[in-house]
Symmetry: C2
Subunit: 232 residues, 2 copies
Amino acid sequence: MPQTPHIERHFTAGAVVRDVVIGMSDGLTVPFALAAGLTGAIHSTSIIVTAGLAEIAAGSIAMGLGGYLAAKSDAEHYAKEREREKREVAEIPHEEMREVAEVFQSYGLTEDETWPIVQALRKQPSNWIDFMMRFELGLEKPEPRRAVISALTIAGAYVAGGFIPLTPYIVADTASTALLFSVAVTLVALFIFGFVKGRFTGTKPMRSALQTALIGSVAAGAAFAIARLISD
Amino acid sequence: MPQTPHIERHFTAGAVVRDVVIGMSDGLTVPFALAAGLTGAIHSTSIIVTAGLAEIAAGSIAMGLGGYLAAKSDAEHYAKEREREKREVAEIPHEEMREVAEVFQSYGLTEDETWPIVQALRKQPSNWIDFMMRFELGLEKPEPRRAVISALTIAGAYVAGGFIPLTPYIVADTASTALLFSVAVTLVALFIFGFVKGRFTGTKPMRSALQTALIGSVAAGAAFAIARLISD
């Protein structure tokens, strides 16, 4: 199974926007929730900042490097499956012709109606293989060089997102003051981010903004409650 | 753009396995790296456990709730796009017929060869719409009820993964002893998890095992270095 999210083409959001969305979603949410949670148990802002920065490093590397390796795996998976289809088209063409026909028959076409397509594809093995990759297996050809750019974009967005909730803890004197500012700026940031994200993903922007802020709030609230519970 | 990863069908990994992989990848890695990182700066295991549990709560909720809302959005996006295709098929059938023909022509078929298919689909509007959804837009029909199961599976796998690196900090007396055990059990867990994941994703199991352990090690190493730097 491909490990990278599938990109659809009606919304020309672009792969970079998608990667920014993936990285910033978690980057805004998890360090925010962690810092808020720790404020429920710890009064030292320096420990919270240390934990926050460690989390940003861990999260951005896990997501970026994870994304890089997943994209690499997808590209290899595609190449391997394409080799297999190529072999099958050469070795068991009648079986593969039947598979093409089945794709169309699942959409209510008769055998007679699918026959010309099957025949036409048979004459062009390379196109036939591409057709099978997309329509039988549902695999899109991965772009080369995407993996590195994708990894850096995701990691960069995670770091950028993570510093928003953490900055108040760096500048404020007490953890409780920092928490107030962190909640305020992060909710605003989650709201704006959710709004912009909604425009790209096709969800109503206002609804996306509220949902994104809700996820951050629930995560932060739960982390706060747990940290407070165990520190009592 | 759909926000949930695309599921392919040759490997019948199943949506539940995919969700376990998504949740456990981050659940094993990020709490591990955070706890290891904090050990570079803090000697109190209780603060590290508090931070770890807060991170597990934050991460599992952010991923689970995020996945739930993304799946909901994808389902709505699908429904909306299907309505649009339905309208277009009714209102501008010739434009849509041209689009069907273009799909096939991009695979090297001539206009004459595509004609029977276009005509046949035209007679069955419902199948025609389904065909456009899959082959023009590349969208798969989302399963209803997946969103809730998916959210719970991802969150559960995150929590299960997160407790592996954290348990040594709960039971050990000193943070440095806990770190040693945490590194040992987590590397073994990442290795086993990566191996099993490789069998489902089509990557060579041994390579997947090494990659997964590498991501965890790099993330933990970076978090440790950053925490130590700022605590000096």
